[in-house]
Point group: C2
């Protein structure tokens, strides 16, 4: 795996409601899917409350370490939406009402016959000089500062913004993967699987236990590699391993 | 809110599969629900890959900062299950095959007529001296070292372990909460809501936008407080705010 092509990312999900259980996050899994398809390695996720210090600290820890950082949540119009302030603070920039955002939003609310309230104007605030992330659902833009992409928490809006962002990201070499259903639990295959992994060092073989009350434990094995050839060799080895376990069981039954 | 009764917690979810999107986490939301009921404030969540350095670093950052840390994942029998090693390293303890766990598991596999393989024996490994967390689903125990609770990633097992753990935790003063459905979007209520929050400083009022393609934005408002009296006063104020917006709209229509 050529290291130079690795593109890494982190996510920072912001919101008390995710930590109280009131809202079950849907954005982490979606981002993970989208980045995997783009060949970008999501390496770390953090969820923090709507507290400025917590957001600033997490953001500064992540943005220095990964190619990209994506945030969700806290850019709405209410008093507990403080992400724009916190991102500004993290970058040492003033948080301002962005002229272009104010104009777009004023026009949209006028078209809809709604007042462009002080609260709604909060959604035009961002670090000075930030680049907009278009919002096809509800106009109020997300924004980018350097390698940090600040997006909404409402899943429909997060997804719409991410779709715009994804077009602009540099992709890594895509990780190829193959899933293999294995009818045995991890306890039965663990030692053999470790040997297969050792014999195929350029792959990453993941083992994901599934539990089903009636059938007990079975396993999904996922082989990942950055070339088709390397991938295929390891997949064959895993399939041979499963066949060998199966035939050893048959022998036992017949014996 | 008396600070002395606040009990805080963090979660560390471990596993490549959560970051690739292959598995959508179900444990974070469940832990959040359980802790909220117990009056324990979940303050931070991190998700990291099956990489020893990443686990050790996150664990050491979290365990010094919060009353409790709960981990999920990476305690199965395969080569990519390295949580026991990483937790041992974080505490500077040797990672050993625990005698009692070995015995319990040997008995269970014997009863089921299954071999107690080297891979299965991996699940008896834990930092020397760790306390068991019972596993009613599949025997192999989780474990506790100081304020860190190490549990399985499979949701059925995580939930069974957490149920055992919850009985032993000290509870904080429970946060009372009341949800109020608000038919208006955040942009319409933001300014008034900020005034209500300011007038009720002992409460925390959260505003959670919901988007419905046909109806547009509406909002769930959640008032939280640690006494019934304080809670009620703020709930009345929020309801009055919504009624005032409603009547101002009626006047506008009639005018």
């Amino acid at each position: 795996m050529p290291q130079s092509t690795l593109v890494s990312a982190a996510m920072l999900a912001i919101g008390d409601e995710l930590l109280s259980g009131r809202t079950k996050d849907k954005n982490i899994g979606h981002l993970a899917d989208v980045l995997t398809l783009a060949g970008i390695d999501l390496k770390e996720v953090r969820i923090v409350a709507d507290e400025e210090d917590a957001i600033v600290e997490a953001l500064n820890a992540l943005r220095g370490r990964y190619t990209y950082v994506f945030t969700s949540g806290g850019i709405g119009p209410t008093h507990d939406d403080i992400t724009a302030d916190a991102v500004s603070k993290a970058f040492g920039l003033p948080c301002v009402h962005d002229d272009k955002a104010m104009q777009m939003m004023a026009e949209m609310y006028a078209r809809r016959g709604l007042e462009f309230t002080e609260a709604r104007q909060r959604m035009a605030r961002m670090p000075e000089g930030a680049e907009h992330i278009p919002n096809a659902v509800s106009t109020a833009p997300g924004f980018r500062v350097e390698n940090v992409y600040v997006m909404a928490g409402v899943p429909q809006v997060f997804q719409a913004m991410l779709e715009e962002v994804t077009k602009t990201l540099k992709s890594g070499v895509k990780v190829l993967s193959r899933a293999i259903a294995c009818p045995y639990g991890e306890g039965e295959i663990g030692t053999d699987l470790a040997a297969v992994q050792k014999a195929h060092p350029e792959t990453s073989i993941g083992s994901y236990p599934r539990y089903d009350g009636s059938k007990g434990f079975h396993t999904e094995l996922v082989v990942r590699a950055r070339s088709e050839e390397v991938l295929n060799a390891a997949v064959v080895a895993v399939e041979e391993m499963i066949a060998a376990i199966k035939s050893s069981k048959t022998v036992t039954l017949e014996a």
